[in-house]
Every structure is written in structure tokens, then in C-alpha cells.
């Protein structure tokens, strides 16, 4: 079952995360073309090599439908494969395996996977308050007939913070909770961010006391355990082995993947503390013929510290209920014995909307390709990547391997 492992990531580009107030404003089509050119330059490939596209549909500025055709026309590229991926924070992971699968099927040779997340400039008739209005319910639908509009919003269940907090409280009741261990996730990742020139929190060190002393947002989550939204965006080129051989860096072959979703609100999951990344990761490891202990790095989607804890456990890096001990016993920095989120994670790198998950994919690629600068691991041939959308509603996993 699954991939043969002949498609690879061969190039990537990622905007430096910036505050919305200071980031350049660009149309999304403009960002797609800009990021594509940068990623192709990184790969040493030509625009004419691209014949596949994975792009976001939700939150695409210039259109809400026909997005791939519009982007192909704008880029001037004809496609044999076009896909809109709508998986929240695991959209980027979902794009990479779809691209690899399309390439292995032989229908295309190079796929541009791209999510633009800088703001577009306002038109004369645009309503600047529309965004604030959309943000008010934080990803919850307000449409008549949407179950969450009817059964969540009136009770104040909305956004992400309280959903993740309730998962953490359930976990605490089942397995116990050590807030110092949770804070250490943020602290180790902040250390990593000091070695990434683009990280939004570069230059600001963090201690466990800082995290525990920060404002409580929803018990037990402090504000420094929650990502900061930023403007950004990223593109990754996935290519066939033939193209990968003539690209200029070391390719990162996609040898395993998994995806799992079954509900939007975790209230309706069979068990809130058994997250979908479990089955997704088992699929990915089985496909690659590898196990968690074989990984040289783990790039774990980290919208919250609790996301990391549950992902480490459910992906099999430690036993269920042992996550906090695992975090305390291991050094999660790029200098440590279990390098995790070596770019700082989204907690310290910044979360560029649904492109936030690309930060994990791009970091995994750059570590395999030897492009990780000051935070480069000595040996990095096998990396695990996870993605998380919604409130641990939809999750994905990838295994990337250097040849």
C-alpha cells in the first residue's frame, strides 16, 4: 500500500513571518507567482517543469472557486493535475502527499504546492471590517443549518483556544498534568528560533517561569503556549525522481504519509485524548518501513503546547500518558538528543494562517537538504512531519528521507 517513495521535495520558499500591520500587502495570485519563482530558484528548476498545482481554496483572496484555473492562467503554466486542499492546518501536509501520489501515478512531473497568506490590499469597495467580522467566530461557521452555528456558538464554544484547553483538561484528568513540562515545549522551541534568521521571536529568549507567569487564557493554557498569527506564506516544489536528480540540492523523498479526520468538534470524537495523528502516523511509518526511533528529527505541528504533547504520544514517539516525562527527559533543541521543531515551531516562528503547517514541512526539507544554516543537524536523513487542522480534528503525517 502507498507510495514507492520516488517523488521528492526539491525546493521551497517561505516568507519571513511578519505582523499583519507591517507585512507587505500583495494579491494572492501575486504571492503565488512570487513564491513559485523563489521555490523554483531554490530547486534549480524552470517554470516550464511545473505541470501540477496544489493550492488553498478557503481564504484565497481573488476567488472562492475556480482557484486552480485562475492561478494557472496567472502563472502561465498548463497543468495535468490541480487540487484545492481544504484541511486547515494540515493543508500543507495534505498537499505534499497528494503531489507525490500524482507524480507516482505518472500524471505529472513537478507540482507546485503553495499557500499565500499575506493580506491583499483593499479595493475601493472592499469592507475592511469584513475580516474582523469573519474573525469574530474564529473558524466556526455561522451559516444557517451549520450544526456548530446552532449548537456551539450560542454556548460560546468558538475559536480554537477553549477547544484545545478542554482537550488538555481531559488529558489532565486521565493522565495527570505537569505544567512545567508543557512550558518546556515552548522554551526548547524558543531556543531553536534563536538560530533561525526569520523567526518572529528571534532575539527574545524564554524561560519556563516566563511561560507559567504569562496570562492564563483558558485553563490550563497560558498565552505563551498559544501561537501568534502572522502574515506569511510558503511554496514547496514536489518533483519526480528524474527531475529531482537534476535539481540542485539534496532531495527529500516522500516515503510515507497518512491522513485522518472524522469530526470537526473534538467533543464528538470517540475519545478526546486519542487524536487522529495516531492512525495517520501509523500509516506513514508502515508505508516507509520505519519506526519513530528511526527519525533524526520530528517537526510536530504546534498551534498549542498540548498539540505537541498529544502528537508525540499518538505518533508513537513515547507511550500514552508518558509524554510529559518524555519532554522533561529529552532535550528538544537542535543541539539535543531529540531535535523537534528545529525552526522554533510555529509557537516561536509564527503561524501564517493555513500556511503555518508549511513551516514544519519546509524545516524538514531544509534539514534533509542541508540548508538549515546555524541550526543544521549533523545527520538528518529521516524526518517525521505532522499537520493539524481545526481542534485536532484533521491531522496528517509525512516521512521525508534523504537519498
Amino acid at each position: 500500500m502507498g507510495l514507492k517513495g520516488t517523488a521528492a521535495i526539491v525546493g521551497a520558499a517561505q516568507y519571513k513571518p511578519e505582523k499583519y500591520s507591517t507585512a507587505p500587502q500583495m494579491f494572492h495570485l501575486e504571492q503565488v507567482a512570487d513564491l513559485a519563482a523563489q521555490a523554483l530558484a531554490d530547486a534549480g528548476l524552470q517554470a516550464s517543469d511545473i505541470d501540477g498545482l496544489c493550492i488553498n481554496g478557503p481564504h484565497f483572496h481573488e476567488a472562492s472557486s475556480f482557484v486552480p484555473a485562475m492561478a494557472a492562467e496567472y502563472l502561465g503554466i498548463a497543468l495535468n493535475f490541480a487540487e484545492v486542499v481544504d484541511l486547515g492546518g494540515t493543508t500543507s501536509v495534505g498537499m505534499i502527499w497528494r503531489a507525490a501520489a500524482a507524480i507516482e501515478l505518472g500524471i505529472c512531473q513537478a507540482v507546485l504546492c503553495v499557500i499565500p497568506q499575506r493580506m491583499a490590499s483593499f479595493g475601493p469597495d472592499d469592507d475592511p471590517s469584513a475580516m474582523a467580522r469573519a474573525m469574530r467566530f474564529g473558524g466556526h461557521s455561522t451559516q444557517y443549518g451549520a450544526p456548530e452555528a446552532e449548537f456551539d456558538l450560542p454556548y460560546g464554544h468558538m475559536g480554537q483556544n477553549t477547544g484545545y484547553a478542554m482537550i488538555a483538561q481531559r488529558y489532565a484528568a486521565q493522565y495527570g498534568y505537569d505544567q512545567r513540562a508543557m512550558a518546556k515545549i515552548a522554551v526548547d522551541q524558543r531556543f531553536n528560533a534563536q538560530a533561525h534568521p526569520d523567526a518572529i521571536f528571534r532575539g527574545q529568549e524564554l524561560s519556563i517561569e516566563d511561560v507559567l507567569g504569562s496570562k492564563m487564557v483558558a485553563d490550563p493554557l497560558h498565552i505563551l503556549e498559544i501561537v501568534m498569527p502572522v502574515a506569511g506564506g510558503a511554496a514547496v516544489i514536489v518533483a519526480s525522481k528524474e527531475l529531482a536528480m537534476r535539481s540542485k540540492g539534496r532531495p527529500a523523498y516522500i516515503t510515507g504519509f497518512g491522513e485522518r479526520l472524522g469530526y470537526k468538534s473534538p467533543s464528538y470524537s470517540p475519545d478526546m485524548t486519542e487524536t487522529p495523528v495516531g492512525p495517520a502516523a501509523r500509516s506513514a511509518f508502515a508505508m516507509a518501513g520505519l519506526k519513530p526511533a528511526d527519525m533524526h528529527a520530528a517537526q510536530i505541528y504546534d498551534c498549542y503546547t498540548i498539540t505537541v504533547l498529544l502528537s508525540l504520544e499518538d505518533a508513537g514517539f513515547c507511550a500514552k500518558g508518558e509524554g510529559m516525562r518524555f519532554i522533561l527527559d529529552n532535550d528538544l533543541t537542535y543541539k539535543g538528543n531529540f531535535p523537534m521543531n528545529t525552526h522554533g515551531g510555529q509557537l516561536s516562528f509564527g503561524q501564517a494562517g493555513s500556511a503555518g503547517g508549511f513551516s514544519q514541512v519546509v524545516e524538514a526539507y531544509q534539514q534533509v537538504a542541508g540548508k538549515a544554516g546555524d541550526r543544521q543537524l549533523k545527520v538528518c536523513d529521516q524526518v517525521f512531519v505532522s499537520g493539524t487542522g481545526g481542534v485536532m480534528s484533521e491531522q496528517g503525517a509525512l516521512i521525508l528521507q534523504g537519498a
Binding site: 450560542p154 468558538m158 484547553a165 478542554m166 483538561q169 484528568a173 496570562k215 464528538y268
Partner: protein, 312 residues
């Protein structure tokens, strides 16, 4: 009238909401596989059969999980009680998103038995199903926001009398600590409309609930900042002192006036003050009172006003 989101029943869900109005909790059960279903659907979410029946249940269950939202999930959910979001697992096995009421956060434990509370949430009689502990004497409650009773004029403990010429005593009042909260006042659409007529500021963001619900970033109408500012006069702040011995006292204006957060129509307000500075100037003795007006339960003030009072 409130900007809080309210459930809009559909043809599928109406029996659930109608049941609540009649005091019954209705759940669907699949006649084919006996699976209990929540939220309401046309089909069983276990076997996809469309052969379902509505059945009355007690609503009793156990607390699956919860969180205390220290930052309200919308400004409208701020209130005197903390916002405690919860997931309850009913005895039938289905889970519901809800809120806990009548419980101190310290008393709440995952797994504790809980019982339903019918809460009337607006003047139109909409009912929400909240939960509380089984030992709490609470089965129904009225959550419709109404104007609080005006405080009695002679209320309050005796205040320290300070003569305006006793500058040292006046300066000793300067503090970083705010007073206790004042009495509360309701800012409803009627009051906002009156202020719009009086001031001439009838911008739709204040006066047109229908349009504001669709187009305003706040999801409903908000009070004028200037209205909230002047409502200070209608709130009784428990000050510990009273200045005496002056011939005239004037409101000399404001050193700083800010409206840091919006006040949705239907909010309860209260305020608190502190003496920020006392100075003797050629024109008189000047006291700056920092007056902060908050929506009840909101940490961030709606109005910050460094009011300058001149005693002559």
C-alpha cells in the same frame, strides 16, 4: 436584545428546541440500530438509517471536560460569573457542548455527575441547556439582562471628610489602587437611540441592529463612546472620602480620554476610580480622578477618563 449568537432552529432540529421550551429534553434514537444521536440529524450517524424517533431523556450525565475561559470567547460572554465551557456526556452516551453555571471553578472535576439547567436567555424566551452539579439547587434560571435597580441615595458607609485646604490629606488620597466597583447600569438599544437623537450621532453602527448584525465587525450595535463616558454620572462609586469646604467645584475636562473596547448594546456597565494626582494651582486645587468604565466581567476598560476636578 443582545448581540450574543442565538440558535436558529431548522426543520430538522425544531423538536429539540421546542422540547426545551416545554421543559423536556428530546433526543433522537435510531430505530434500526438503537444508536442515540446528538445533534439532531435526518440520518443515524452510526448506520445512516433514516428511521429515527424523538425520545424524552432526563439530560443527566457526567462532565467529560471543561475549561474556564479567562478571556471571554466573545466580549458578549463576559459577565459577573466566569465563562465555563464544558462538554457533557449524557447517560445515553451522546456528548453536548454546553456551559456550566452555579459552580465555583475549584469545585469542578472531570467525571463529576451533572444535571441540566434550563436557561432563558432572551426576552423572546429562547432556552439554552446549561449544566450544573447534581447537588446544586438550580434547575431553571432567567438570564435575560435587565436594568439593575437604582441604588438608594443614602447608601454607603460614612466617608472621610477632607477639607479642601488640607492639601496634605488630599495628597494622601493619591493611590495606584482602584476603588471597589460602582453600582451597575444597563446600556440597551433604547438608551443608545435616545443618545443618538440627543447628540445627532445616529451612525448605523449604533442605531441599526439589523445592519450592524450583518456588516459591523462587532456583530451588532455598540454604544457611543461619548454615551458610555457620561453614564459615569449614573453609577454610584463607593468612594472613601468626601471633599468639603470649597465654594465651587467644576468639571474642568479630561487629561486623557480613551475608548479601548466596544460596549455592545445590552451590556451591563460598572466603574471604579482612583485619585491620580492632586495639585494646587493659581486657579484652584485640582484633583485628577481616573475613572474606568468596564462592561461587567471584562478586564479591559470600555472608557478610561482622567477627569479633572477643580475646587475653588
Amino acid at each position: 436584545m443582545s448581540n450574543k449568537p442565538m440558535p436558529l432552529p431548522t426543520a430538522i432540529s425544531a423538536p429539540f428546541w421546542d422540547g426545551l421550551k416545554d421543559g423536556r429534553i428530546m433526543l433522537q434514537q435510531c430505530n434500526a440500530c438503537q444508536h442515540w444521536i446528538f445533534y439532531p440529524r435526518r440520518h443515524c450517524n452510526s448506520c445512516l438509517s433514516h428511521d429515527l424517533s424523538w425520545k424524552q431523556v432526563t439530560g443527566a450525565g457526567k462532565l467529560y471536560t471543561y475549561t474556564v475561559a479567562r478571556v471571554p470567547t466573545l466580549p458578549e460572554f463576559a459577565g459577573a460569573e466566569p465563562q465555563i465551557l464544558a462538554v457533557v456526556e449524557l447517560d445515553e452516551g451522546v456528548r453536548m457542548n454546553t456551559t456550566l453555571v452555579g459552580l465555583e471553578p475549584e469545585r469542578i472535576e472531570v467525571g463529576m455527575p451533572v444535571k441540566p439547567v434550563r436557561a432563558t436567555v432572551n426576552a423572546e424566551g429562547a432556552i439554552l441547556l446549561r449544566y450544573t452539579g447534581v447537588d446544586v439547587p438550580l434547575d431553571e434560571r432567567d438570564e435575560v439582562v435587565r436594568a439593575p435597580e437604582a441604588p438608594s441615595a443614602d447608601a454607603g458607609p460614612a466617608r472621610q471628610q477632607i477639607d479642601v485646604k488640607d492639601i496634605e490629606a488630599l495628597k494622601a488620597l493619591v493611590t495606584g489602587e482602584f476603588s471597589d466597583w460602582s453600582s451597575q447600569i444597563l446600556v440597551d438599544q433604547e438608551l443608545i437611540d435616545q443618545f443618538a437623537a440627543l447628540s445627532g450621532d445616529d451612525y448605523w453602527i449604533h442605531t441599526d441592529p439589523e445592519r450592524a448584525r450583518k456588516e459591523s465587525p462587532f456583530g451588532g450595535t455598540i454604544a457611543h463612546g461619548a454615551l458610555v463616558q457620561v453614564l459615569m454620572s449614573r453609577m454610584q462609586v463607593p468612594l472613601s472620602f468626601e471633599v468639603t469646604g470649597f465654594t465651587n467645584m467644576v468639571n474642568y475636562g479630561s487629561e486623557r480620554l480613551r475608548f479601548p473596547s466596544p460596549v455592545p448594546a445590552g451590556s451591563l456597565l460598572h466603574s471604579r476610580t482612583r485619585v491620580k494626582s492632586v495639585e494646587v494651582l493659581p486657579r484652584g486645587t485640582q484633583m485628577v480622578l481616573e475613572c474606568n468604565i468596564h462592561v461587567v466581567g471584562q478586564e479591559r476598560p470600555a472608557v478610561i477618563n482622567d477627569l479633572v476636578i477643580l475646587y475653588m
